[in-house]
């Protein structure tokens, strides 16, 4: 029967997933403690759920084989069966136990993903502002006083607090091998703590649909030793131009600018919306934020005229 076939296929695939091919799937091939914790959580849940599948599939197969009409005598009449309180309580309680176990794991890990990864609680985090504007990412390093576009270099062994926001549609900042994702929105800042254990290049992307150029909204994350990182920062400082307000406004309108580096950040003239509290600000307080949104608004009005010209940049 086909069901037995699909059971076999699913079990084989599950075994494959859990043995050899975890390295192939980047979510299960972590390069930092946050992603590692999530990878372990995922594998744990897969095993629990595989147990459920085995029970259901086995029962299903046995019942179908045993009680098919062609297997019973023509005058067999199935009994009237109202149900059994005992059995029904059993298959209510067992799922409750499973859900309870998973809930404990979930709550623990859900609390953990909002904090610096284990082992890095006492380290002073390095802050990077990651903001999206139509189909690109700006990375501002306020402590180093530099800013990059569409590439992210980070030191290994250092907890980085990403502060996320957007100059347009909701985007989601995701570096699968370092940890989970989080939304970047226009009216508040969200925070995400990530650490890279080993040097190397990784894929980062926006995972939340944000319009026409969404599929190309990937960026390279390069984890390097702290020494190399400092070297790179110095390098940028020597070679790159400062980011002026005019240049930044121009940049906001470009859809696919490729990689860029600057020796100052846009935070100086266009601060981030920070956290929820800005919703509750009194009239007149922190007023400088409002005009910045409006500038952006006007910027998008012109976007359509530039489309064809800008599209060519995508092949950089």
């Amino acid at each position: 029967m086909k069901k037995k076939g699909s059971l076999l296929v699913i079990l084989t695939l599950l075994t494959l997933l859990l043995s050899g091919c975890t390295d192939e799937l980047i979510v299960l091939n972590p390069k930092g403690p946050a992603a590692e914790m999530l990878s372990e959580t995922i594998i744990f849940s897969v095993l629990m759920m595989a147990g459920v599948l085995v029970v259901v599939f086995t029962l299903f197969t046995i019942i179908l084989v045993k009680y098919r009409a062609s297997n019973s005598s023509p005058d067999y009449e199935p009994p009237h069966d109202e149900g059994s309180l005992k059995l029904e309580i059993t298959w209510t309680l067992i799922p409750i136990i499973i859900v309870t176990i998973l809930s404990v794991v979930t709550v623990k890990t859900t609390v953990a993903v909002e904090k610096p990864p284990a082992g890095y609680e006492n380290q002073k985090p390095m802050i990077i502002y990651a903001s999206s504007s139509n189909y690109k990412w700006h990375f501002s390093y306020p402590e180093q006083g530099i800013e990059t576009v569409n590439y992210l270099n980070i030191p290994t062994g250092q907890n980085i607090e990403f502060r996320l926001y957007s100059y347009g549609p909701i985007t989601s900042f995701w570096i699968p091998q370092l940890g989970g994702q989080k939304y970047a929105m226009s009216d508040m800042v969200t925070k995400l703590n990530l650490v890279a254990d080993t040097p190397g290049s990784m894929m980062g992307k926006n995972s939340n649909f944000s319009g026409r150029g969404f599929a190309k909204m990937e960026f390279e994350v390069l984890a390097m030793s702290p020494g190399e990182f400092d070297e790179w920062v110095n390098d940028v400082k020597k070679t790159a131009p400062p980011l002026t307000e005019e240049r930044f406004d121009e940049l906001l309108k470009i859809e696919f600018p490729g990689r860029e580096s600057y020796t100052s950040t846009h935070l100086e003239f266009r601060p981030a919306p920070e956290d929820h509290s800005s919703h509750f600000k009194k009239p007149g307080q922190k007023d400088e934020e409002q005009p910045s949104n409006n500038d952006n608004h006007e910027g998008h009005g012109e976007e359509n005229n530039q489309e064809t010209e800008v599209e060519d940049h995508s092949n950089h």
Binding site: I26, I42, M49, F57, G83, V99, G168
Partner: protein, 653 residues
Amino acid sequence: MNWDKFIVDGLKHGDPLIIGAVISIVLVSIAIVAGLTYFKKWGYLWREWLTTVDHKKIGVMYIISALVMLFRGGADGLMLRIQLTAPEAKFLTAQHYNEIFSAHGIIMILFMAMPFIIGIMNVVIPLQIGARDVAFPRLNAVSFWLFFFGAMLYNIAFVVGGAPDAGWTSYFPLASTEFSPGVGNNYYAIALQIAGLGTLMTGVNFIVTIMKMRAPGMTLMRMPMFTWSTLITCIIIVFAFPVLTVALALMMFDRLFGSQFFTMANGGMDMLWANLFWVWGHPEVYIVILPAFGIYSEIISTFSRKNLYGYKSMVASMAIISLLSFLVWVHHFYTMGQGAAVNSFFSITTMLIAVPTGVKIFNWLFTLRKGKIVFTTPMLYSLAFIPIFTLGGVTGVMLAMASADYQYHNTMFLVAHFHYVLIPGTVFAVIAGMYYWFPLIAGFKLNERQGKAAFWTIAISFNVTFLPLFFLGLDGMTRRQYTYSAETGFGPLNLIATIGSVGLMIGFALVVYNIIWSFRHAPRETKGDVWDGAGRTLEWATHIPVPVYNFAVVPEVDRLDAFYFAKKEKRSLFKNKIEKIHMPSNNGQPFILGAIFFFWGFFMVFSMWKSAIVAGIGVLILLAMRTFERDHGFYIPVDEVKKTEQSYGGDSV
């Protein structure tokens, strides 16, 4: 007048797919008009269908519309898959891809799954509770025509003005005029609103029908499981749909009248839209899944020749699911930054849904146990549902874990999960239900051999299409990305998925072939209770095809599965004599109302205010006409009922 705004970009740029779509729409329209004129069917169409208030015919129209939409949405899905077959494919542009995946989601959920389910409810519920129609037959027709014209309005977006392109979720600020300046998302706000009003009325109508019109003796705990699932679903509709109504109205104000509820500037909150959308959106998922559970319960019980195991816990589990469905909406955006406490709460409520659902799975398994299982086409779909849906369900539990969801969110893993619950859940159920109850309307069964061939094609292709997506998701492929580079390594699994989707399309084409073939060649049934006399509920107690008045005499019920026991004990459920039967009269107003709503919506989409006001006044005039109208329906005289009964062979009463 400036006609330019009505012309979609694809036509201006000469996109062959869009031109093809326009030409085919024009050709089909001409063919329909010409055909109706040539065969002189205009009168027939108007008298028998457009003005009907008969729940069975309205149900059939719902199902036909849903099948057409299944192919429209399926063709969309196929185009998406073709575009993703290989890295950097050039089949669709990004813009076109965005429009198509938005259309695929909206059409499949709102214009395929829901109307299909509502169609089956329409056909079956009055029969199952021994009633002659729904409580408000005229309102039922209004519901259908609002749905129909809402769906039509949405469907013309592709060729007139431009289609919505912000996803079926239409998240702000992407869907605001700032980032989506075209008329596409106006269609979303208006067309869904019109169709949604129809659904809300259906909810009210069926609650009243089930509460007030059951056959004598049918207490709540003697109702068939499909009736229970419909009752609970309609309660969800009545609580959830007003949220959509309000959200869409706010969206309309934002897009058409310059309000700032969800925009970026001036303190608008994009997250508010996401919350409102999913406060409706999650219960909506249960609106399409609970009736499916009801359908499976009926079919599994019929074809294992056994009563449903654990009837009470089946009812209780649905009630609990319906409550929980309103407490889980945040799991659609764990990553919005609301913090660990909120996420933990919603994780637990979401996982809790697995408990009542698990109870149902085991109850179905134990209904099968000790049964005498016959593998008919509807039964095959119902059986395949159990393992496939369980896989969808357990991945749902995995997604419910907020921490892990930080890695699944927005990926193909999620896409695989919801197709694994919605296709075996809803799509298999409505097809199974269609095969199962088809003889009630048509008077014959659909050919079994063809039906089974279609089933195997669909079941196997489904797994080939969607199983690879779990792995693509874990490999970091996000949903809604129209292309990917070769370095990502997504190519091979995507190729497999596309092959599967072609198989799915063939499978659904086989279902349609099955229907057409059976219309011409299938042997006509002479008696009711066509499934080898295994029927357990009242819809099998009357003649086939069901007469316009459903039951010549209202049946009386003394227990659950009363029809089954009456057959066994050789009793009759029909104790009274034939009397004259009160019936509602046909009326053209619901159709005209729907048509006016269509034009109102169209004018609103294009901000043509004067025309919109005129159409709006038209709506008010029709409502006023209905208010002052006196129409008490008509009676079918005893003689005519007797004559009709005799034409069936006349001994069932």
